[in-house]
């Protein structure tokens, strides 16, 4: 049985929860929320510029899911993909309404007790480099990275969310990875490089929007 590495819940348990939620079981819907709220928020946050928008849209997605759940049919449609399609549509609607560009978040970082100002500045630079590399991808490539990596969807779920074939998703992902590696200078033989600091330093700082 396939178990998504980002979601500990297996498909059977999820199907049962969805069936219970469709019958009006609020607790079951609460558990679905707990399972998907983080990934949905991260996906939305990667596509809107303000944290308040990410919060509002995340709430909107789950309210829409609540309304649309009675019409959801599990046959062949991964629930995660269905939910992320709702999220994607909500983002598109918001962008249309506000004429907002798909800008990646420019975060402010808050120093922790351990991090020096120099380390914080360096980390901020590195994170900005990642943001720039992501911004240089095509819209489709970036969306695949957001869905697959930031939200943790499977290829099938990402395909459902984007309304594409799984093979297309794999191709977009392959090209996105190549482009990111080139932009960030990540090669197989490289050992010390700025992006590596991102991973190491991010563990020592508390970061907010």
């Amino acid at each position: 049985m396939y178990v998504n590495p980002r979601y500990p819940m297996d498909e059977e348990s999820l199907d049962r929860l969805v069936a219970d939620a469709k019958r009006g079981n609020t607790e079951a819907f609460g558990r679905i929320f707990d399972e998907y709220a983080g990934p949905i928020y991260r996906f939305i946050a990667s596509r809107v510029s303000r944290p308040s928008d990410a919060e509002d849209l995340t709430q909107l997605v789950f309210v829409k899911a609540l309304e649309a759940l009675p019409r959801y049919e599990a046959r062949g449609v991964p629930f995660g993909g269905w939910l992320f399609r709702l999220a994607r549509n909500a983002i598109i609607d918001q962008i249309r309404t506000r004429r907002e560009h798909l800008s990646l978040v420019v975060a402010t970082t808050r120093e922790s007790e351990e991090a020096s100002p120099e380390a914080m500045a360096s980390l901020r630079d590195d994170l900005d480099r990642v943001a720039t590399a992501l911004a240089e991808l095509t819209d489709d490539q970036r969306e695949v990275i957001e869905l697959r990596f930031f939200a943790g969807l499977s290829v099938a779920e990402a395909a459902e969310a984007m309304g594409r074939q799984e093979g297309t998703i794999r191709g977009l992902q392959f090209r996105a990875i190549g482009a990111l590696r080139r932009s960030l200078g990540i090669e197989s033989s490289a050992v010390t490089h700025a992006p590596a600091r991102v991973a190491a330093q991010a563990a020592t700082v508390e970061v907010c929007w």
Partner: protein
């Protein structure tokens, strides 16, 4: 397993680390934000659920057939009526439900919603159970003070149901078991005091009995890991023979 298959694994690991750090640093939701969204979404879910339940109850009392078929409104008119009725129910019902006192029509729905809104994380859930138990107890005391036997019975029935839920959720952790046991023991004392002020109230006796049973169950659960907490009603032979001197009365 990497989310990215089919390329150089070392470079992919590096890229994953970098994206992972970026995700955690810039995209991770603050806990308070998720809690706020959860509360709002589940309140809507509970209101929708109450509406469905109310609609089902209405369907049950609706006459199954009518002789004057010609008087039936057209299908679209019935659908429109249904939709507006559901919308009115959603707004009206949710407000009425959330303020329903014990003994009122929506009290059971309110109790159901409050239970459904409890968090899933165990410690927070147990705190929620404790709050609800205290609330049910207060409602019972208020009803008793007002001489409202119907409200008293409703509050005590909800209290018993909450005792059962809390006992089912508490798990096997000895500290949690001991804490819940203490809470229920205090509540039993309150209920006993309440019972003594009333002429004869069997629903209080039932609630006290439910509390006592729950306490016994908790003691039995914690017994294997708490040898210093012997089960009530005597020993099983063997063991701490030195304590036997207490039974001298």
């Amino acid at each position: 397993m990497s989310a990215f298959e089919g390329t150089n694994p070392v470079a992919l690991d590096r890229l994953e680390d970098v994206l992972d750090a970026y995700r955690e640093a810039r995209l991770a939701p603050p806990g308070a934000v998720l809690a706020r969204i959860r509360a709002n979404v589940l309140a809507q879910a509970a209101a929708a659920s109450a509406t469905i339940a109310a609609a089902n109850r209405l369907r049950l009392v609706e006459p199954r057939s009518t002789r004057v078929r010609g008087w039936l409104p057209p299908r679209f008119a019935r659908a429109a009526f249904g939709l507006s009725f559901a919308a009115a129910l959603t707004l009206g019902t949710s407000a009425a439900v959330l303020a329903a006192p014990p003994g009122s029509t929506f009290y059971n729905a309110r109790v159901l919603i409050e239970s459904a809104l409890l968090p899933t994380e165990l410690d927070a859930r147990l705190v929620g159970h404790e709050d609800l138990l205290a609330e049910r107890l207060n409602e019972a005391a208020t009803a008793a003070a007002n001489g409202d036997t119907a409200a008293l019975a409703a509050a005590l029935a909800a209290y018993q149901a909450e005792v059962n839920d809390a006992t089912a959720d508490v798990g096997d952790d000895p500290d949690r078991l001991a804490h819940l046991e203490d809470v229920l023991a205090k509540h039993s004392a309150v209920l006993a005091a309440l019972a003594s002020t009333l002429p004869q109230e069997s629903s209080i006796e039932h609630a006290i009995e439910a509390s006592s049973k729950a306490i016994t169950k908790l003691q039995q659960k914690s017994a294997p890991v708490h040898p210093t907490r012997p089960p009530q009603g005597g020993g099983t032979g063997g063991g701490n023979g030195g304590d036997g001197g207490q039974g001298g009365n």
